[in-house]
């Protein structure tokens, strides 16, 4: 007897059409809303303050990624050292910086001057060294970078550690048995395999950081959202400027996603 497949096509098309219609209606309502002023959006999309905000957002994102990676590597090494004090320090760091909201950390760094009015480096008990007024040193940008990087370091540490844990111990045994030193085994066998696990996760972190930088607007970090807020603080075009900012975030995240896609493909 012939076997006939169950017919699913009909209902699938129906659902799809319904969804499409709903989406189209939603878009239409939003786009044609008299309260959404497209000329305003258009005039601010490439305005100088907005572009400088985009620049700061990108700079913060890249700097946070790099600093976070460095902090994360240092932390992962501490954890792997086998030294109980370093291990405990690792655990405490992760506990604190993952356990408190980024927003709180940013505000804290910005207000560090309240805790330490003068900061600097020098040799205790002597006049040697260099000190400065905290209020002058910790600009909103510096506070933003510190806050983001220290917070990110905690996540990076766990990602890096996970990457190394994903390489089975047998890989090292095999490397040693073809006459490699432990250092060679680490460089030639463990690191390349760990990196293949870590890199895709870094792509995700990049996108998370990119959007996370918007939080520095609470301390006037000069990023894209800070600029948008400054502008609508004067002309009251709140929605228009939020749309401007969102369009930029969407564009940047889309670019990052495409980069991530190609990166992952080249690793396979």
């Amino acid at each position: 007897m012939a076997i006939a497949p169950r017919r699913r096509l009909g209902s699938r098309w129906g659902l799809g059409a319904l969804l499409l219609a709903l989406t189209a209606w939603l878009c239409w309502t939003v786009v044609t809303s008299p309260n959404l002023e497209w000329e305003v959006i258009g005039s601010y999309l490439f305005a100088e303050p907005v572009l400088s905000g985009v620049g700061v957002t990108l700079l913060l994102t890249v700097a946070t990624l790099v600093l976070g990676l460095l902090i994360g590597m240092l932390l992962a090494l501490m954890r792997q050292s086998g030294n109980p004090v370093l291990s405990a320090a690792y655990a405490a760091y992760i506990w604190f910086f993952r356990g408190t909201p980024l927003l709180v950390q940013l505000v804290f760094w910005f207000n560090l001057a309240l805790l330490f009015p003068r900061i600097g480096i020098g040799i205790p008990g002597t006049s040697l060294g260099w000190y400065g007024e905290a209020n002058n040193l910790i600009t909103p940008f510096v506070a933003a970078l510190f806050g983001l990087a220290l917070h990110e370091g905690a996540y990076m540490a766990e990602i890096i550690r996970g990457g190394f844990l994903a390489v089975p111990r047998g890989q090292v045994d095999a490397a040693l048995m073809i006459g490699m030193t432990p250092g060679q085994a680490a460089r030639r066998i463990v690191v390349p395999q760990a990196v293949r696990v870590i890199l895709p996760a870094l792509g995700n972190q990049f996108i998370l950081i990119l959007k996370g930088t918007s939080m520095v607007s609470v301390i006037g970090g000069g990023d894209l959202l800070t600029r948008a807020q400054q502008i609508y603080g004067q002309n009251y075009q709140v929605i228009a400027l939020l749309v401007v900012a969102s369009l930029w975030y969407l564009a940047l995240v889309s670019l990052a996603s495409i980069g991530q896609h190609y990166l992952e493909r080249s690793l396979r």
């Binding site: 089975p168 047998g170 890989q171 045994d173 095999a174 490397a175 040693l176 048995m177 073809i178 006459g179 490699m180 030193t181 432990p182 250092g183 060679q184 030639r188 066998i189 390349p192 395999q193 293949r196």
Partner: protein, 253 residues
């Protein structure tokens, strides 16, 4: 002498539990020694201590008359530097139960890596020799594949080629066929039989009693961290002197 291995008074404990309790062994060049014994008897630990993947608590291992992991200095044996230990390890090759091929490299790259990066030999010459070795284990056609694209039996044969590429004096096998589907066991044992025929010194932990009878010169029965019985393969396997050996053999045969 090249291909000779000796073990003296090997002891190893994990967290106070003794796993090896004084193992002595002499392997002549070209000899094939098969290790049998119950799970947990210390067979893997013995091979890993021989290779110094684990540092023994006491006892010495020598390959080609070179002590593994220590060097004589001013009348005493001093722990070797990592570099020196790595040099000594080149005299041994190991084949693992889980193959442990380098996952990010192709079969050919796995075989070439040691000679190129450790021995610093000419890459083109190494490539030629590695292809020849892959041919010997019947895998010339799979040189460009990653381990994940190969069957277990194929991976294990690449692992054997990788070990051979370093021109070792002694090969250590830790249950090389235990992780394989039954129909793939034969192809790996076949390669090992060829190696034995070519005069390679081999220490083989295995549950393949048939292989031990046919290829093994000596059988060592390891139980509770000591050598319970050892002797010519056919003699130990057909008429064991120890009751524990007899009981174990009755169980696996």
């Amino acid at each position: 002498m090249k291909g000779a291995l000796s073990v003296r008074g090997l002891h190893k404990s994990y967290g106070g539990t003794p796993v090896l309790r004084g193992v002595d062994l002499d392997v002549a060049p070209g000899e094939v020694v098969c290790f049998l014994g119950p799970s947990g008897g210390g067979k893997s630990t013995l091979l890993r201590c021989v290779a110094h993947l684990e540092q023994p608590d006491a006892g010495l291992v020598a390959v080609d008359d070179e002590v593994v992991g220590y060097e004589p200095r001013a009348g005493r044996l001093v722990e070797s530097s990592p570099k020196r230990l790595a040099m000594t390890r080149r005299r041994m090759g190991m084949v693992f139960q889980q193959f442990n091929l380098f996952a990010h490299l192709t079969a050919l790259e796995n075989v070439m890596l040691g000679p190129v990066t450790v021995l610093r030999r000419d890459r083109e010459a190494v490539r030629e020799r590695s292809m020849e070795l892959l041919g010997r284990v019947g895998l010339a056609a799979h040189a460009g594949k990653r381990p994940a694209q190969l069957s277990g039996g194929q991976q294990q044969r690449v692992a054997i080629a990788r070990a051979l590429a370093m021109d070792p004096s002694v090969l250590l096998f830790d249950e090389p066929t235990s992780a394989l589907d039954p129909e793939l066991v034969g192809e790996v044992l076949g390669v090992m039989r060829d190696l034995a025929g070519q005069g390679m010194t081999m220490l083989v932990v295995t549950h393949e009693v048939g292989f031990a009878v046919e290829v093994g010169d000596t059988v060592v029965f390891l139980d509770g961290g000591v050598i319970e019985e050892q002797g010519p393969a056919k003699q130990v396997l057909r008429s064991p002197a120890s009751e524990r050996t007899a009981a174990f053999l009755a169980h696996v045969l």
